[in-house]
Symmetry: C2
Subunit: 322 residues, 2 copies
């Protein structure tokens, strides 16, 4: 029997790095997780990563044929094959990750950031299969985005395109981690909705179960639970988040006229709580020629493996071109 | 001697339609203008247009070989080859312009809106030669935009992408012709700066030569002249316009990370009066990873022929593909 062609999908996180061998249909043949131990520095990390990939290939050598390696990592640059001062890894300067892995693995290797990998994952395996123009919005700690136009991911002149989370909602708005004020991700993200709850608890006098939770312990999940139980402040927080996000997604539609926008990540798990107000405000705020045309969809990737599937999709997407 | 290959560039305006035969280097071999007479309806117009192109080809038959026809028109759809309810032509519904011209001219023919044609004009003949990622902003009566990513114009799922003029500056802001409020073009356009002057004349008590001009007679050119003569209100108007435009261009950079943004059209003629504040506010508002990287450039197309060059570029850009 012919061996199954697979690529390795690698998602480098601040705590753990998750790996999987994924075939062209998105089936994961082997997956595992190693601690990132970023403090040991990039050289040590890459040596362990390369060894782990080699072991995975060896372990599946009877059934799988490894064709390439795709990597999702914070602050990754697709063009240069680098990660550049990734904040949650603590590595300084520019790390030539692709070049370092290529020393031991003579295969096609590519790297991009998590949000772009998610977009390619949706295109190859998920909700955007067969689409040529779409946007994936990752609502996690921040707001990441991957923009696909005419079947290709938009990297831009320097490889850093797709920062919709850092478009400005209000120049005098909330302080953002990027140093500026009022970025979309300070409102529309798991962190953003927690800030919104704090603001509402201060402005309103409603009773709310959220008043019993320490702000430091508040999560998007807790707020979603409270909203499902009818808590007025929690519901208001989702309405506000959907309004801000919907307005900015109407802008996104004016830029690239996507067929669909896919909401991905922790806050998107809240389902209709976030989809309904976002869709409603997006439609209300949209230029008439676009109204009723753009679908707002949940991720089509299986829970748990999404980051690995995205990273694998990155390199599957390259392989026909080589 | 071999004949010179040319394409016909056609710019359909509300009053006049301008035509030119343009070679691959952007030289115009013959150009002329016919009245559009839109009230006669699309059939009559297209018959006159097709006849004019045939006559131009005949007149230059000794030296030129017509290879294709490119058309810039309001509300044009590239995918469908149509113009759809163009407001300044008064044609109702969908007019299959490309199909109608193809009845008499068996050549490659393509159509797009004026802003997209301008972007292709800059890419093939102008300031964006050799660039793969850039945005052209047309500051005319409204604000048009053409976005190029990875060497291709972004048309989006429905062919109507690139409506940066209809991204929202302020949801409670100025009434826009599109029926919504606070669109960028109500601030950053030749019309927008006139509205800003009216607002400033009401809010401020400064003396200003602009108080002597009827609002209906105010133009971007008059405001530029007043600003050059040191008029404080006129200067404030350019500062305000540059602030609003610069902030939104910083958002544009976050979307597609262009190498350059090119300002085109009537208001861009004001030169440093509009470039300086726009550039300054764009840099101030930009995410740090993009700062200092994006050039703000004037059009590289010769005055007068810009629309014809853009329309011609549209079809030159297609020809290698066919």
């Amino acid at each position: 029997m012919a061996k199954q062609e697979v690529t390795a999908g690698v998602d480098i996180g601040g705590t753990n790095t998750v790996l999987g061998l994924v075939d062209r249909e998105g089936r994961v043949h082997l997956d595992l997780s190693i601690p990132t131990h970023a403090h040991e520095g990039p050289e040590t990390f890459v040596a362990r990563l390369a060894k782990t990939i080699a072991e995975m290939a060896k372990q599946t050598t009877a059934t799988c044929d490894l064709k390439g390696i795709g990597i999702g990592a914070p602050n990754a640059n697709y063009y240069r094959g680098t990660v550049e001062s990734p904040p949650n890894l603590g590595w300084k300067g520019v790390v030539n990750l692709v070049e370092m892995i290529r020393r031991t693995h003579h295969l096609p290797i590519a790297i991009t950031n998590d949000a772009n990998a998610a977009a390619l994952g949706e295109m190859i395996f998920g909700a955007a299969k067969g689409m040529k123009d779409f946007i994936v919005i990752t609502l996690g700690t921040g707001l990441g985005s991957g923009i696909v136009c005419n079947g290709s991911l938009v990297y831009g002149a320097d490889g850093f395109a797709g920062e919709i989370g850092h478009t400005i909602v209000d120049p005098d708005g909330r302080q953002c981690g990027c140093g500026r004020k009022g970025c979309l991700e300070t409102y529309a993200s798991a962190t953003g909705i927690c800030r919104t709850v704090s603001e509402l608890l201060c402005e309103e006098r409603n009773e709310s179960v959220l008043r019993e939770i320490r702000p430091s312990e508040l999560t998007a999940k807790t707020i979603a639970e409270a909203a499902r139980n009818g808590d007025a402040v929690a519901r208001q927080a989702f309405e506000f988040t959907g309004r801000v996000l919907g307005l900015k997604l109407a802008d996104s539609v004016a830029y690239t006229s996507p067929e669909a926008i896919i909401l991905f990540g922790g806050l998107a798990q809240a389902g209709e709580l976030i989809f309904e107000p976002t869709k409603r405000h997006m439609e209300e705020s949209m230029l008439n020629i676009f109204r009723g045309k753009v679908r707002l969809l949940p991720s089509g990737l299986k829970e748990g493996n999404t980051a690995v599937l995205g990273a694998s999709a990155l390199i599957w997407n390259e392989l026909p071109k080589r």
